[in-house]
């Protein structure tokens, strides 16, 4: 028996990354900023999107792809405001690009200002997968504890922004925003931070204006390097 070692030296996700880059460029070409929202379950992704949809109403167009293991409850909540498609993973712990592309087709590939991808609630696996987003945002709720950035470094390292949610509960829980931000910025020094309460609307305007700035920056970059 002869043995032969074939040297490869390739990132296993290289092809997936290249596909994502192509899709990202296509979306940019249509003027769509894709935002990947990540957090643990129950951190308030859907509530943040409801508040965002209400803020953008008549001002901006948006669509949502929402990932869950089962049920279309989140899609039902969001479909009252904006075009939404539920991506049901049937047990898988994260979304991958083919599922997102299929969702876009189901949405009718709309030309919207913002495409939000609400990932499966999980601070681990979704961090490894590029879904063609221009902006990756991690949510951290005050009820989860301020120690999460240190525990899930990859998620915070790969995000551009962090939204601290459930601000209304801050007086009732032992959560230090300062400590959470400090820890997160040790891992990702450029992390932009927002504090919101989706229920009473605190911080939603700043968050939505940031999204608009990010979209403007994306369009500018696209036009400079078409």
């Amino acid at each position: 028996m002869s043995k032969q070692v074939i040297v490869v030296r390739r990132d296993v996700l290289a092809e997936e990354r290249a596909d994502a880059a192509a899709e990202r460029a296509r979306l940019a070409g249509r003027g769509t900023l894709a935002v990947n929202l990540l957090s643990s379950p129950g951190a308030g992704k859907t509530s943040l999107l409801e508040a965002t949809a209400q803020y953008f109403q008549s001002r901006r167009t948006m669509a949502v792809l929402v990932g869950d293991l089962e049920t279309d409850r989140d899609a039902q909540r969001l479909a009252r405001y904006v075009p939404t498609v539920q991506l049901t993973t049937g047990g898988a712990c994260h979304l991958e690009l083919p599922l997102v592309k299929r969702g876009l087709v189901q949405l009718g590939d709309p030309q919207v200002d913002f495409l939000f991808i609400e990932n499966v609630g999980n601070l681990v696996c979704p961090a490894s997968h590029d879904l063609a987003e221009h902006l990756r945002v991690v949510l951290l709720s005050t009820t989860e504890g301020d120690d999460k950035p240190g525990k899930y470094p990859k998620m915070f390292r790969t995000s551009q922004a962090m939204v601290i949610t459930k601000l209304d509960l801050l007086p009732h829980v032992p959560f230090s925003s300062e400590s959470a931000v400090q820890d997160a910025q040790r891992i990702q020094p450029n992390l932009d931070v927002f504090n919101v309460c989706a229920l009473d609307g605190r911080g939603i305007e700043e968050w939505c204006q940031y999204l608009e700035q990010q979209r403007d920056a994306m369009l500018q970059k696209r036009d400079q390097h078409p």
Partner: protein
């Protein structure tokens, strides 16, 4: 538990490489993981073992090498090996660092047992 998905991708890519090289069996798949790869070695191993056991390329062994997390400083260009997830340049203290190793699952090599290999290496 996304190690299943990674194990499947590994096996698919190894199969592609074997086919492209005219090999029928794969003896070993060698990978590297770093602290920021998001992969748990034991879980990847057991997922791969189960998927590979009745695969056309079997018997295939997965070998996992661990690599350190390395960053390069954008200010002074020095490379630092990080022992924790505090991202700063160990030489100048700057925080503008870029990860250059340790955040991926790298497919390093595939060892096959056939003599009739057409091409050495892949591109």
């Amino acid at each position: 538990m996304h190690e299943w998905s990674f194990a499947r991708k590994l096996l698919q890519q190894a199969t592609g490489i074997c086919h492209a090289n005219g090999a029928r069996h794969c003896l070993e798949v060698r990978v590297q993981i770093g602290p920021l790869s998001g992969i748990e070695a034991t879980l990847l191993e057991s997922a791969f073992e189960q998927l590979a056991s009745d695969h056309e390329l079997a018997p295939t062994r997965l070998v996992i090498e661990r690599t350190p997390l390395v960053v390069r400083c954008r200010d002074c260009a020095a490379e630092s090996e990080l022992s924790d997830f505090d991202f700063y340049c160990r030489l100048c203290g700057g925080r503008a660092v870029q990860v250059v190793a340790g955040d991926q699952l790298q497919l390093v090599s595939v060892t096959v047992d056939d003599a009739a290999l057409m091409i050495k290496g892949t591109t």
